[in-house]
């Protein structure tokens, strides 16, 4: 079997590249796409503040700048380094998750973050990446035959369910779902048979009545309201009803920048965070909404291209896992504000105001970028330089 890339580009096949060379190989189109999406966010946050950089737009810009630095930093680190430290990262994330759980029990209500002073660290955000890295590492060395053995699938399944359980307990249904789904995507890409998914999904559906008992009242309420939002238009259904009004009244061409009435007059709740897409689509109409959708699709397609182009299974799985997580963010958020899925509190990636999500997303794209830079590096079973 010929592997043209390996032969033609001996330079890229070098086991060692210095960081200058790596910087040279940074994919600026990817960064431009990220910046384009983030700019839509800045524009929106400026409007959400009633035509002011304060209090959101400037902070968001700074975070994006910081995020891009992190992205580049992550990208130049050798993919193998990430692979070798995948389990460690996973362990650290688990510890942090437990810590948050403990702190949360001591404190009041749902505790999801650890205050580091300059930033509020959400362990569940790190876990999203750590889990992808760990699963990618686990499946990196696995043959299709390995993957075919059910017993082989038990460790990664445990790896997934442990954080999902902790996150559910926080309780953060949105993140739990995302962890499950992005892991599912990796299992799928690794070659797990479809019928196995069928069994798991079937078991999951069967467990719903049981799981329902463990849901918090507010979560039950959210699901009920999703099923019938008009039942409580002034209460908890208010969010989704107002969001649909804002979207619908935007029409094809929108009300004009900074002229959104639903958002400008605060009928739309959380307009700078979870419901920012609604605000954008109110002011820019369906055209604006489709444009943004297009940007996201482009970015995701780019992620796919990078993943598919990668030689190592680890890189491919990481690239696709991150891309899929990103897709889930974007899909769940937009579907939620349009009333297609229940309100679960997932931000619109790179656009919603918020530091942790922005930084962790760019960290993730940093890994994709690293996959791109190190696309031709063959990686051994355990992350060694040789096959």
């Amino acid at each position: 079997m010929m592997r043209p890339t390996q032969r033609l580009s001996s330079r890229l096949n070098r086991t060692e590249m210095n960081w200058r060379e790596k910087l040279w190989h940074i994919n600026w189109t990817l960064i431009a796409l990220l910046a384009a999406i983030a700019s839509v966010g800045f524009l929106n946050l400026y409007s959400a503040a009633g035509g002011s950089l304060e209090p959101w737009a400037v902070k968001q810009m700074i975070r994006f700048g910081l995020g891009i630095c992190i992205l580049i930093g992550v990208a130049v680190i050798d993919l193998r380094v990430w692979m070798r430290h995948a389990y460690l990262l996973y362990l650290v994330s688990m510890v942090l998750l437990v810590l948050v759980e403990v702190k949360g029990t001591i404190g009041m209500g749902a505790q999801r973050w650890i205050d580091l002073g300059f930033i509020q660290l959400q362990p569940s955000e790190i876990m999203k990446i750590a889990l992808i890295l760990s699963l990618a590492r686990y499946f990196h060395g696995a043959t299709l035959q390995d993957v075919g053995r059910p017993v082989f699938l038990l460790p990664p399944l445990a790896m997934v369910l442990a954080p999902v359980g902790l996150v559910l307990k926080q309780p953060d249904l949105g993140t739990a779902m995302m962890l499950l789904m992005s892991s599912g995507a990796i299992f799928f890409m690794a070659g797990v048979r479809l019928w196995k998914f069928g069994v798991l999904i079937g078991a999951g559906l069967g467990a719903i009545p049981v799981a329902w008992q463990f849901l918090h009242d507010y979560q039950k309420k959210r699901v009920m309201i999703f099923l019938s939002p008009d039942s409580d238009p002034l209460g908890a259904g208010y969010h989704i009803t107002q969001s649909k009004i804002a979207l619908g009244s935007g029409g094809v061409f929108g009300k004009g920048y900074m002229m959104g009435t639903q958002s400008g007059l605060n009928f739309l709740p959380e307009k700078q965070t979870d419901f920012i897409f609604t605000m954008f689509a109110e002011e820019w109409g369906m055209m604006g909404g489709l444009f943004l959708l297009g940007l996201y699709v482009l970015l995701i397609a780019y992620g796919y291209a990078i993943a598919l182009r990668c030689r190592s299974q680890f890189g491919r799985l990481v690239g696709l896992g991150i891309t899929t997580t990103f897709f889930l963010y974007f899909f769940i958020n937009t579907a939620m504000v349009m009333g297609l899925v229940p309100v679960v509190g997932v931000p619109l990636p790179l656009i919603s105001y918020g530091g942790t999500a922005m930084l962790s997303l760019l960290f993730g794209w940093g890994l994709v970028m690293s996959t791109y830079i190190h696309r031709d590096h063959p990686i051994g079973r355990r992350g060694s330089y040789e096959d």
Binding site: M1, T143, L144, Q145, A185, F188, M189, G191, Q242, K244, I245, A246, L247, G248, S249, G250, G251, V252, T261, Q262, G264, L265, N266, F267, A281, G285, M286, G289, L290, L293, Y296, V297, I300, A301, Y304, A307, L308, Q313, R316, L320, T324, F327, F331, T334, A335, M338, G339, L340, D387
Partner: protein, 620 residues
Amino acid sequence: MYHDNDRSKTFSRRAMMLAGGKAALVSALAGRMYYLQVVESDKYTMLAEDNRVSLRLLAPPRGPILDRNGIAMAINQHNYRVLVVAEASPSLDYTLDALSRIITLTDHDRARIHKETRRRRSFVPITVRENLSWEDVARIEVNAPDLPGVLIDVGQSRFYPLESLGAHILGYVAAVSEADLTNDPLEELPGFRVGKAGVEKIYDLALRGAGGTSSVEVNAVGRVIRELERREGEPGVDLTLTLDIRLQEYAAQRLGDESAAAVVMDIHSGEVIVMASTPSFDPNAFNRGLTPDEWKDLINNPRAPLQNKAISGTFAPGSTFKLIVALAALESGQINPAQTVFCKGHTEMGSIKFHCWKKGGHGSVDLIAGIKHSCDVYFYEVARRVGIDKIAEVARRFGLGVPTGIDLPNERNGLMPDRDWKRKALKQPWHPGETLINGIGQGYCLATPLQLATMTARIANGGLAVVPHVARDHIDGKDATSRSAPNWPSCGVQQKNLALIRKGMNAVSNEPGGTAFRARIDQEGMWLSGKTGTAQVRRITMRERETGVKKNEELPWKERDHALFVAYAPEENPRFAIAVVVEHGGGGSAVAAPIARDIMIEVQKRERARVAGSAGGREG
């Protein structure tokens, strides 16, 4: 590396599948967007507008009410209110403490303010106190820096500068009650007042005007962001009355403390120039809000200050009714004016004795003498001949027993009895003796002072069915137009008969021996012609007649006679008709006639001054 190649293929295939799934989901998003933003867009646009735009009603200023000379009787006054906005004040109690050093605030006020603050959003101003004096306003403004969150607001409130003068005609305004609700959205406005009595009530729609609207943009919590559109309403019409408030004032003074009413009207146009009813009340009290004690005093006063006795008080017309009896007799041809009846002080019907007011009798009495001396025996005989049905029929044509149709609420019908009425109302046959009793204006028959004035006006104007009114213009709903020249229908009586009645009335006032001769007007061209009436309100027993009928002064107020007087003036070319009723006042000639005379002198003096003034104006 074989397995890696295999894996890579699987990966690529599955990546495509995953991508396909994602594409499907993205298509669903785009489809949903299309559904919401194109298909359902109109619906949501409307909902968004509903959210955003709030329509507020603007209260139009209520129309002022003026007398015939343009003197203001009802106006709108600035009502200074002090308001507090909870969110603008660091602490409500601190602000209220500071405020209470300037104006008095009761604990009750404070409790109400706190309660309202909890109920409303924190930016909604809450009324602390209304009707502040200008001094208080000034002191609050000066101390404004120490009063965070305190606002002064100017509203409009109804004010009646003449207080009790003309109060019965004006009526008053008060908060809207369930019964007042029409479909006017103005009624929903907080603090909106509607007319509850008098012309304020009957012309309420015209006085209200039309509300304007202001569409404002509001945010999610209801705070007004800006005004989008403003459509000014139309202020209420200026309502000019036919009353001359100076004459009204004079009449009210002249009636004094009596429970009495005086009505002066133009016999041609029907304009009511004076309509006094005493005692009166201050309509401002109703707008301000009456205390329970004030209300009790008004309600329990035996002289009924709240009642407009000119239209709502019904009295036995007494001898003033003899004019109608005489007219009915002449019209029916039952008497000849020259025919005489002999009055020996009483007459009999069966076993019942009917007394004349003059114990010794009047001797031989013809029509003119009968009216002049108000001889009861003469009218017993006349009434007996004419019969009650004919009397009642003529009486109704002259406005008795039927509403005059004046533009005021709560007008009473009075009562003109006939056989039919008694059969229906009392389920009893008519007793012939009752014809005699009613023939001198006693018994069942009742009339309001306005009806008596209208009757007199119709006699004086040549038998035209003039209808009294108090609004100068014709008002229909919300529109006011000038009244067309009056074209009253005829009462259907012969002029020569009316001339005889007027001759009798002239004799009453201007011939020595007439019952009102002492209350005549001497001034040239101002002579009045009238008819006295003294309505008995108690039964005089046989025994009392033997020992001598008690004088009014000896009786408790409630048992005293009503004093009545009707008249027109001037004698030549009559212009004004008057009716004066003094409840339990005593004799018509002694009590009512002098009042009527004085009022008629003033009325005619004012008329002369007006004519002279306008003539002078033309020359200059």
